[in-house]
Symmetry: D2
Subunit: 343 residues, 4 copies
Amino acid sequence: MGKMEPGERNSISDVAGVTVGHVTINKGGVQTGVTAILPHQGNIFQDKLVAATHILNGFGKTVGTIQINELGTIETPIILTNTLSVGTATEGLIDYMIEQNSEIGATTGTVNPVVGECNDMKLNDIRGRHIQTKHVKEAIQQASADFDEGAVGAGRGMVCYSLKGGIGSASRKIPLHHGLYTLGVLTLTNFGQLEDLTINNRLLGRELTEKMNTVPNEKDQGSVIVILATDLPVSERQLKRIIQRSVIGLAKTGAQIANGSGDIMIGFSTATKIPHQPNGRLLTIPTIHEEEIDLAFRAASEATEEAVLSSLISVSHDEAYKKQSSEVMTLLQCLTKFDVRLS
Amino acid sequence: MGKMEPGERNSISDVAGVTVGHVTINKGGVQTGVTAILPHQGNIFQDKLVAATHILNGFGKTVGTIQINELGTIETPIILTNTLSVGTATEGLIDYMIEQNSEIGATTGTVNPVVGECNDMKLNDIRGRHIQTKHVKEAIQQASADFDEGAVGAGRGMVCYSLKGGIGSASRKIPLHHGLYTLGVLTLTNFGQLEDLTINNRLLGRELTEKMNTVPNEKDQGSVIVILATDLPVSERQLKRIIQRSVIGLAKTGAQIANGSGDIMIGFSTATKIPHQPNGRLLTIPTIHEEEIDLAFRAASEATEEAVLSSLISVSHDEAYKKQSSEVMTLLQCLTKFDVRLS
Amino acid sequence: MGKMEPGERNSISDVAGVTVGHVTINKGGVQTGVTAILPHQGNIFQDKLVAATHILNGFGKTVGTIQINELGTIETPIILTNTLSVGTATEGLIDYMIEQNSEIGATTGTVNPVVGECNDMKLNDIRGRHIQTKHVKEAIQQASADFDEGAVGAGRGMVCYSLKGGIGSASRKIPLHHGLYTLGVLTLTNFGQLEDLTINNRLLGRELTEKMNTVPNEKDQGSVIVILATDLPVSERQLKRIIQRSVIGLAKTGAQIANGSGDIMIGFSTATKIPHQPNGRLLTIPTIHEEEIDLAFRAASEATEEAVLSSLISVSHDEAYKKQSSEVMTLLQCLTKFDVRLS
Amino acid sequence: MGKMEPGERNSISDVAGVTVGHVTINKGGVQTGVTAILPHQGNIFQDKLVAATHILNGFGKTVGTIQINELGTIETPIILTNTLSVGTATEGLIDYMIEQNSEIGATTGTVNPVVGECNDMKLNDIRGRHIQTKHVKEAIQQASADFDEGAVGAGRGMVCYSLKGGIGSASRKIPLHHGLYTLGVLTLTNFGQLEDLTINNRLLGRELTEKMNTVPNEKDQGSVIVILATDLPVSERQLKRIIQRSVIGLAKTGAQIANGSGDIMIGFSTATKIPHQPNGRLLTIPTIHEEEIDLAFRAASEATEEAVLSSLISVSHDEAYKKQSSEVMTLLQCLTKFDVRLS
């Protein structure tokens, strides 16, 4: 998919130091969870990273973007969960941060928790509020460079293109004169109507809907969260430009950015650590020249496109799902049922 | 103060339908609370109001601005509390909303909670996380057009200009050809250094610091939340322009908009209710002509200036405080101690 | 192309009152021009329209967006030309406006000219500055509901996907409960690399480049201007949301939103006229309910996609071009040369 | 004025390398001009500077902000003139830039001209369009570290607080651990009503209007342009934060940011030159730590406040004006006439 080469795992964790952890809740009508993305393996409150956000469509409840935009840095892991648990997850993330950093709220001000969400009410008893604050810490502790995709963590109850969505990830290598860099994307997918689904420029969704007797499309009320990591040395302004290009990847899968879709991008660069406290010297921020940015743009687009499709096709996703009955098919179930081959 | 006439109560509740409630926690080192602002007395999820936000300085953790910006409406009460309780308050507000609206998360999507905050760690054990989700509902139930100002609710532990800050409110009447309108402001004040305090163009802060042996000024790490209500018929774009003018009022009190200050404005207009569901007809939004907006600009500036000073001078504030020892004086205590008269 | 029905002309002029005029300069190495879009046929300074802009990528020199954003209205025709003539075109537009409105700069303040541009230096002697102020007035006077597309007006020297670009237009009908509305798009296309060109989900560009001995792709330094008109009753906020969806249409043609591409959207709604002066009464702005906006989103995407392709395929474009030698082929020339059929 | 120490000249040219030049047109009813600010003395197209803009109130026609925002750099001198000459000045600036840089529009893309404006129609025949393209080049050639303030250049016909406004400048020193830096501001003042004029917290405007038989206040339709220069090493994000603080300085002089006022801030840092072309290596951008920014905030506020007042009080201003009759008094004329002393 696309023209650029993926990283070793074809995952956001190809960016050195980035890990992902899930807590998945799978109990009958309760199908939800928490996903944690750790931008690096040190103390991120003490060593912040350059970060940026982009609101593609603001029908969403993501927490923490105001301060990222103002200061250009991120200082906590990123937590993903369902929409009505965003408060609980924020609380859980604050629990974790003040436990890790005794000076928060004592000698050094507070902390800016970052929590994204999608609405999993089609498959999950979202009103039941089954996420607890402890799940945040557990997801963080589970974090690993190897992590499952599909119907896991925050992706457990998500629906994408009327099929089973969830967590997907992909990466691209960025070869520049001064080094070989990596850009990775993790998506939480919960948007789209089957009819629009496009894979590698094939209108697969239209093919599938034509074979169905009933049209599964309802109003598109979903959302997508795009987390982008890179080791490319960039300013927060450059990073914002890069994450904005994920819309190209979304569009290539058929996304319409519908009214009800909270489409939020959050990006960070691991290239430079910004210390919490000044040390009396100037910071020195290495950045690429603007004329070198086009490959990163394309990498963001391609990795986003592939991450969305990975969320639909993931094996772990499918295995998790085939054990239970569900009104929502996975893509592979759908292809099998209607005897359509992907390639 | 200023040239325009205040409303009857000189309070945000001069805007018909707006009420304010507090839960105050006053137990030794625990000095914090919750304040709820109800934009109208009906079901605000069903009958939303035109709303806008402005990030004057984004070193803050306010929740809910993304969706207000995208959709131009507010659909919950506004909750204020301390910074590390923003997750808990969000959770509490979601509790309240889904209790009031059985269709949320069942038949109609989710809800966008709006929660603002300032950091009260100088006077409050903020790490102790003493706010509970139930306090949100209690504050909402306490809401009244008559409400206390000063060291109450979310303002309990706030420090402003090195003095006791907290909740303040003021209002202004806006006479236009087609009607007499009201604009009210409520501020949660937690910013500034004494030396900068200015009242009615008098550099009172400088006078006071010159009389002190020790200079009380530390680094300015505070914040201010400005809630603006009006019955003026305005679009969300016009409302955003109006709330931006509150910076003039802040500046006249001596504000420097310091790096560490999360300065956030949230405004709503009660003039038009936007139904949650479409009814098959076009909406009709009455708005003022742009050339009529200057009086609203000045009203926003004057009401903000007076609301900040009201948060410093409030009697209820002082009464609440004189019962306990504190390192932070109220303005009246300070004036008395150094024998300075306000006018 | 797409699922929605086009308007009668499949053009921006399907929105009643919208007309387009060109001045084309075709003299050897001078290949440039001016295109004027008139939002309605009355005096637009006296009767402004709701308007919005979106900066998809700000490597561009478009004039006039600041005031559109602040006031939510447009008060002049929109002029398009080459990048280094943006000053001259602005001057020409001011000439026209003060000639039409004797009170501008005399009794009523000034006027906000709106001028977009792309860089036509590959085919045009852009340093020669061949646009004159009078061309603006001529383009306005030429304006008609029937207008040429392709290598005309501002599109004369544009290059898109390494082929001949220029002016393209398309429209879509929007059937809602309360009426049948129209949304039209005009694009000035000057971006992209051939390899990325995609038509109806077919990677035509890749097919073509594989047949070529030399790869025509250079660095993507182009731009695209998207002008969107509609008679849908919308607020400026809603309109901004709608024009943002044109990125979906661009992406479907293969756009990468490269660093050097100034990608600017400007939209207006003809549904309501906003008078220059207040009349002592409230304005009444009819708008759709937000839940009705998805069709307009899709219309913006589809019309943009088709407008870009129309700029590549236009017959008038091809006829204008076949009379001269040029290093840049039109799409039809390219298809013929490499014996590829479009469908 | 304020607490911080001014630079040697108390002028924007205290920032090493910054110069300012004027062309003033003073012929009866034609009272207008051009002011050029040169950010450094080299070739700014080849060696760009970090830059940022802030739209405080967008009722204005400033050209060039879109690209500054996207790329974070400035690549031309800044030109100021009257509103209806913004096209001509843009054209003149392009003339100058392509003359200085033979590759523009030939081998390297185009150039982003930056032109600000205020409406001088009260004192100038603005409809007459008396600015010519050549005036831009002349103003650039006149540029010097020593330059006049008051009724000169673009400031010639401006009116501020119902008195004679125009060009004003001031500066402040910023002592940090790693060095002593300078921040300078130049304002083009054309806003405000006399009644609001405040000098050093004294409501001078009210005093003056009380002594007048006729009230000179009309509708506030003016504007202010704030140009901020510094040698402080900052990112474009930090610079944007700094220039936003100029609103505090404006407010302290009595500004209301009225509807009709185009209030635009443009800032640049001379600390780092960004080369036009990449050289195969990473850029290294030195920046202050965010916790060191508060002094720069205060410097921006104080220098803006003093620059506005300097535009009112300038001696050169007064000398230029006393030779002609005018309906608009200078501040010094007004103080003399009503026998009021400044201190």
